[in-house]
């Protein structure tokens, strides 16, 4: 696979600081891949994205975009090819929703009609109303989640080849978050976009990512598919991550199919029963071994079923 973004032995520390924030980072993101970055607070996730966008320069090492050192690009060209949704969203306070989304039209001379059309398209993509009233609102008149979605729409406006997203769905409720996650995957598949997506949530990381970067204290602990992370954790940190904190009943995935129908058709493998208090890794293990329906119990009491299509399509409890 062609690599669109590549970190070669990248080290980074902030000016006037002793400690390295990123250590010997080696990493390749393929064209059309959805890569998630999972790490605790302060592990260097935002720094990683800023380096790609040349908002920070590596202390050591090289970063390549489409096979060429990013230093060989005109910095404006480079950034135009990347849609960056920063962690703070950063909508411009003096511009309304429409002006925020279409900020790039200040340099692409697009017709008014084209701009309007594109804004509407992006608003509906982001599950936002495309009424005039909404388009005229200013950032302070939006909820946190709406701001995040406008931020996403803004990053998509210029149709960038790669999206850098820093916890873009942090402020969303579960339902909207899942809708948007699904939309994002659709967009990614449909337009063959590459996405580098930062999140705090283990579950978001493995549901969305083709591959996951597990970052801890500025070091990549493992960069692998969700399956390999579960089955072959490379070190104690990764193992603990999957074993520990997320009991089964905290798992929320996309609800997709009508599992009962599948059972009646005799398609799925035998149902597996698990206790809700058991760690996520157990369920993931079953899934990876090809079990399609997982029934969750609390002691003797039946809680619900999860239907599994693949890791990206797991039915809700």
């Amino acid at each position: 696979m062609d690599e669109i973004l590549e970190y070669r032995s990248v080290n980074f520390k902030y000016k006037n600081q002793k400690k390295m924030v990123l250590n010997d980072m080696n990493l390749g993101v393929g064209v059309g891949e959805f890569v998630t970055v999972l790490g605790d607070s302060g592990s260097g996730k935002t720094t990683l994205l800023k380096l790609a966008n040349k908002l920070l320069l590596p202390t050591d090492g090289t970063i390549c975009f489409k096979g060429k050192d990013i230093n060989s690009y005109d910095v404006f060209e480079l950034r135009k090819n990347m849609g960056y949704v920063i962690q703070e969203v950063g909508l411009f306070p003096h511009m309304n929703v429409k002006e925020n989304i279409s900020i790039l039209s200040k340099i692409n001379n697009m017709s008014k009609y084209k701009i309007e059309e594109r804004v509407n398209e992006l608003l509906s993509l982001a599950q936002l109303p495309n009424t005039n009233e909404f388009k005229r609102r200013h950032p302070w008149q939006l909820s946190g989640g709406q701001q995040q979605r406008v931020g996403l729409a803004r990053a998509l406006f210029g149709n960038p080849e790669i999206l850098l997203m820093d916890e873009p769905f942090g402020a969303l409720d579960v339902v909207t978050r899942e809708k948007l996650q699904r939309r994002l995957i659709e967009i990614q598949k449909m337009y063959n976009k590459t996405i580098l997506f930062v999140t705090h949530s283990l579950q978001e990381a493995i549901t969305l990512g083709d591959k996951v970067i597990i970052l801890h204290e500025g070091i990549i602990q493992q960069f692998d598919t969700p399956k390999n992370l579960v089955l072959n954790p490379r070190n104690e940190y990764v193992r603990t991550l999957f074993n520990a904190p997320t009991p089964v009943d905290k798992m929320k995935f996309f609800s997709v199919a009508d599992f009962s129908e599948l059972i009646y058709q005799g398609k799925p493998n035998p149902i597996v029963a698990v206790q809700r208090s058991e760690p996520m890794v157990k369920v993931l293990n079953w899934i990876l071994k090809g079990k399609k329906v997982i029934s969750v119990y609390d002691k003797e009491n039946f809680i619900g079923n999860m239907y599994v299509e693949d890791l990206r399509h797991i039915g809700e409890i």
Binding site: N53, L55, R79, F92, M95
Partner: protein
Amino acid sequence: MINYLSNNYDKLLIALVEHFQLVGITLLISIPFSTGFSYLMITSKFINKIASSIMLFIYCIPSIALFTLLIPLLGLGKTNAIVGMTAYNQILLVRNIITAWSSIPVYIKTSAKSTGMPNLILFKHIYLPIMLPHLISGLRITTVSTTGIATIAALINAGGLGKILFEGVRTSHIPKIIIGITLSAGLAVLLNTIFSIFERKALYKATGGHTTKL
């Protein structure tokens, strides 16, 4: 006093216009200088320290002393006054421009840069509108201050309302003093009000209408 007013109507008007011109020209010259200085001072901490000290030092010289010091270089008259007042204004304007620049949150600057648009476009469409209320506020304070100092400039033959005021002082002509003071204070208040209106509008724009009222 009414008598004096009606007899010297044209003379007063000329003085007022002259005063206004003095203030206006000073501001027009002060703005590009302070913009340039601010740019250098934002880019370099070293320049910032040195320039702030010099500007503050100048600001602390009593105006009449500064004008007098400039006489050997520029002689008497308007040029001297304008140069002197421009020097005074620098600290006020520069302070406000730097405050305006730092009033833009870092993450807005990051988000602006990440769009990949050239700096000039970012400045025009993003930074400037957010900075504008602070800039106008600085301009307003500077205008009021200049209007006051410009009266003193009459002592070095720069004309303006100070001429009437000091004539009054010299000849103990109370109406002249009162009228001189009233007109220059009135001009300051008027200019202040006009700038305030623009400042409020700019603030409304900068915040997208989110103007917090206490």
